[in-house]
């Protein structure tokens, strides 16, 4: 077998290991899924009337669902990497990591296994949350098959970018508690983006923060693809953010992993 196919095989083995962990200990995965679902229900049924009144002047809960769901989906993508950071940190403190490092396996298989497993979990999470959204009345407006595909592609790309960042955070954290804290921004950033309310509705001094952070163009793009609002330059911006974050996370993680372990 060639070097590349061995590398692919090692990554697949590590992916299987991570999926096995997720299957044996589903509590972390479920915990992460629960948050966006609870927020979705909370914002639609409790705050829905008020929020929609704030957006277009008339209280219409079902219109707000349309606005909110792309943001909630993004939040689902943002929540999973927190779990990834924690499990990477925990994995690094395990004795088995020393074994992996002294075996003739593809050097980055351990990390790639985590990333693939996490992206897969994220996609499944997005599908579950999306199903809940549809069940409580979310409908896309005239999205074509291509737009659905683009939305799915963007979801995977965002998940990939955030997961590589999360792996870096996990490698840089000395313990699971620190990893959880360090991954917090990934979870909080959607709150200060256009996920729940438009940027225009925020206080003036705060608008630049919301406007120039990665989640806002990503959410606006997703919203455009699913409910037909204007995308404008947000599409390219979203893809650029994702690629930049993915590259940053990848090279950072690789450098951290190649250091001598403690």
């Amino acid at each position: 077998m060639s070097g590349t196919s061995l590398a692919v095989r090692d990554c697949a083995t590590m992916l299987r290991r991570n999926l096995l962990h997720a299957r044996r200990y589903p509590s972390l995965t479920l915990n992460i899924l629960l948050t966006p679902i609870v927020l979705l229900l909370l914002f639609v049924y409790v705050f829905g009337d008020v929020m929609s009144a704030g957006i277009d002047g008339e209280a219409d809960r079902s219109a707000y669902i349309g606005y909110l769901v792309p943001g909630i989906l993004l939040m689902t993508i943002g929540a999973t990497p927190a779990g990834t950071a924690i499990s990477v940190t925990m994995d690094m403190t395990e004795g088995i990591m020393a074994r992996f490092r002294t075996m003739a396996i593809h050097r980055r298989a351990v990390l790639v296994g985590h990333v693939l497993g996490s992206v897969l979990q994220t996609v499944i999470g997005v599908l579950v949350v999306g199903t809940v959204a549809v069940a409580i009345g979310f409908r896309s407006t005239d999205a074509t098959a291509l737009e659905w595909l683009a939305a799915f592609g963007l979801t995977v790309l965002v998940a990939l970018a955030l997961t590589w960042i999360a792996v870096g955070l996990g490698l840089a954290s000395p313990n699971p508690e620190a990893a959880s804290n360090n991954a917090m921004p990934l979870f909080v950033l959607p709150f200060i983006s256009s996920a729940f309310v438009p940027v225009d509705a925020m206080p003036g001094w705060f608008r630049p923060v919301a406007e120039y952070q990665p989640f806002t163009p990503i959410i606006e793009t997703l919203r455009g693809l699913l409910i037909g609002t204007g995308i404008g330059h947000n599409g390219w911006l979203a893809v650029a953010w994702c690629l930049a974050l993915a590259a940053l996370g990848y090279f950072w993680s690789r450098a951290l992993f190649n250091r001598d372990p403690r």
């Binding site: 095989r9 290991r17 004795g95 020393a98 074994r99 075996m103 003739a104």
Partner: protein, 324 residues
């Protein structure tokens, strides 16, 4: 199969191995040469640098200096080639606690790129050999210390490594598990595997190792076979103990070249422990009319070597006093 055609005469060589963490020098220029197919033991007290040496030689961390070769591959040039010839069982268990023992074994088989059927066969065989069949379907985190250590070693053996590093393989194990582990190491050596063993137990090194290096404060204090090391220190003697202080005093007066212990009423006569020497000692006692209440023959053991070579500032009592 006790002999194998060795590709290289030395499985492991190190010249001038150095490593420091911050300003603390852990290994200060170490030279080692382990002939292929032998057991080499690195012996030393806690904090002597044994684990650091294993971590470097097994490619886990990088050395600060020195020329290192494992399995004929230069460690600095081709660590991946080194990894394909070695197996490591560390001091801290290297098993995945979240999955079962069997899954751990199959994971190793996959990472060694064994075909599926071959992987299952090797797994079943090793689980059987290491007495883990009953626990195979239980999460590894539920295993006892001895079971974890056996699983750990079984996982190391999946890839049939020719050089195995065992870092304190029996630390914390009960006597039975310890003897099981020794038996396993002997089987490995019988198959021609080279074993690099670190231990803080002198009897373990004595029991298993062909050659022993005593590591003290980052340097090799002495190296040789167990017997060679024992010859380095004096300490062989016959010890006579008396119940009656008067008999003790007359014995001290009658014998020359002896060490006395007034408190224990004991006399030590230097002796190499041979039958001839012992007879001459007894003859001397008879001719002087001395009758001791107890007589013990003491030959130097690795404890004496160890304390003599590792500075022994915290040496509590001479080893044989602790026993009697």
């Amino acid at each position: 199969m006790t002999t194998t055609t060795a590709p290289v005469p030395f499985a492991i060589t190190a010249k001038g191995l150095r490593k420091s963490f911050g300003d603390k020098t852990v290994l200060d220029g170490i030279d080692l040469a382990v002939p292929t197919g032998t057991v080499f033991s690195l012996l030393g007290p806690n904090g002597a640098g044994k684990t650091t040496a294993v971590r470097i030689l097994s490619t886990l961390i990088t050395a600060d200096g020195g020329h290192l070769s494992v399995g004929g591959h230069d460690l600095a040039v081709d660590p991946q080639a080194v990894r394909s010839t070695i197996g490591v069982t560390g001091q801290f268990s290297a098993v995945d606690g979240l999955i079962t023992g069997e899954e751990n074994m199959l994971l190793m088989a996959d990472l060694h790129h064994l075909p599926r059927r071959e992987g299952r066969r090797v797994t079943a065989e090793l689980l059987e050999r290491f007495d883990l069949v009953a626990a195979a379907r239980k999460p590894a985190s539920t295993y006892s210390g001895g079971m974890t250590r056996r699983l750990d070693l079984a996982m190391t053996l999946v890839g049939a490594p020719r050089i195995i590093f065992l870092d304190e393989p029996t630390t914390g194990l009960d006597p039975r598990s310890r003897h099981t582990m020794w038996g396993i190491v002997r089987e490995l050596v019988a198959d021609g595997v080279t074993v690099f063993l670190t231990t803080q137990y002198l009897d373990e090194a004595d029991e298993l190792a062909d050659r022993i290096a005593v590591l003290s404060e980052g340097r090799i204090a002495a190296t040789g076979s167990s017997d060679e090391l024992k010859r380095l220190v004096p300490g062989g003697h016959v010890r006579l103990r008396f119940a009656d202080p008067a008999a003790y005093r007359s014995a001290v007066a009658a014998l020359r070249d002896v060490t006395t212990d007034d408190e224990a009423l004991a006399v030590r006569i230097p002796s190499d422990g041979t039958q001839r020497e012992l007879r001459s000692v007894l003859d001397r006692l008879d001719s002087a009319g001395i009758e001791a209440d107890a007589l013990t023959v003491h030959t130097p053991d690795l404890d004496d070597v160890f304390f003599a070579l590792t500075g022994g500032t915290d040496q509590p009592v001479p080893a044989e006093e602790a026993v009697r």
